[in-house]
Symmetry: C2
Subunit: 148 residues, 2 copies
DNA sequence: TTTTCTGCAAACTGTTTGCAAAGGC
DNA sequence: GCCTTTGCAAACAGTTTGCAGAAAA
């Protein structure tokens, strides 16, 4: 019955609860990042997050953005996605909306997708090897409609 | 019946042929990188490649390593894998040994795996969206036997 | 009041680029 | 000999770290 069960609560509330449970305080920069992410359904890069916060009038230092995203990921409420080209995307982890990403190689646009058969296959593979699997990532690369 | 059909030829021969077909010349650094990759069955990072070549007595400048890997990828004989943490791995593309990777989050070790059901699911998804899919990547993350 | 958080600027890491010298054809 | 390739060093982009001041508890 912990708050992380996510029974009806907003993601933001879950994230905040997760942080305090892990011993973090509740600062303004953290609240701003959480508030922004709560409104997203797919990934944002650290740079996009920084810019969006600045535009909204509550700017947060670059270093803080990265630190906060790290903490959120560590606590398990944010998923980090390697988008390629050395960039990472971050999105709120909503297990009920688990999905993967298609990345456009020319414009960088990211589109989510999900597939039950794919998840099933991944689950099967994860159980096999000598590894203890903690996460997985599927990235499809190609060109979006606009770029071809 | 082009050389890229790979009917019996070594990967190195295919890679070399691919480069000349694309109009590249046959320099010493390229031969060294191709020779090294030919002996690999899974990914190496650019840094590992640079170090291995230096240790073997035929060192190749860092910039050349990257340039050559780019060309090989462009020509389609090398696959680039985003390993996370901003690092990329490179491996010879051998369609008959298509596989994906499990990365240990603590020591960085990479282990290959493959699964027909997984490929099938990916093929199905790729056909769906508005994207023209040119490649895909599946990465499982966890801890290897030694690191747990 | 004590401890953590935050922002800034500087450092770092992997990768890319500019340019002159070396090497293929 | 002409043009490509190569190596070096410097530039770059995204990310991380050190530190002093601001803010939470």
């Amino acid at each position: 019955m912990s708050a992380s069960d996510g029974n009806g609560e907003s993601w933001a509330a879950m994230a905040t609860a997760g942080l305090s449970r892990a011993g973090y305080r509740h600062g303004g920069a953290r609240a701003a990042v959480i508030g922004l992410l709560d409104a997203q359904s797919c990934t944002m890069t650290a740079y996009e997050i920084e810019a969006a916060l600045r535009d909204s009038g509550r700017s947060v230092g670059r270093a803080s953005v990265y630190r906060i995203l790290d903490e959120l990921e560590e606590v398990g409420v944010v998923t980090k996605v390697e988008l390629g080209r050395g960039q990472a995307g971050y999105e709120p982890a909503r297990p009920e909306h688990h999905h993967h990403h298609i990345v456009c190689e020319s414009c960088g646009r990211v589109q989510p997708f999900d597939d039950a058969g794919l998840e099933e296959a991944i689950g099967r593979v994860s159980a096999d090897g000598g590894f203890e699997i903690t996460g997985h990532e599927v990235i499809l690369r190609g060109r979006c409609r606009d770029c071809r």
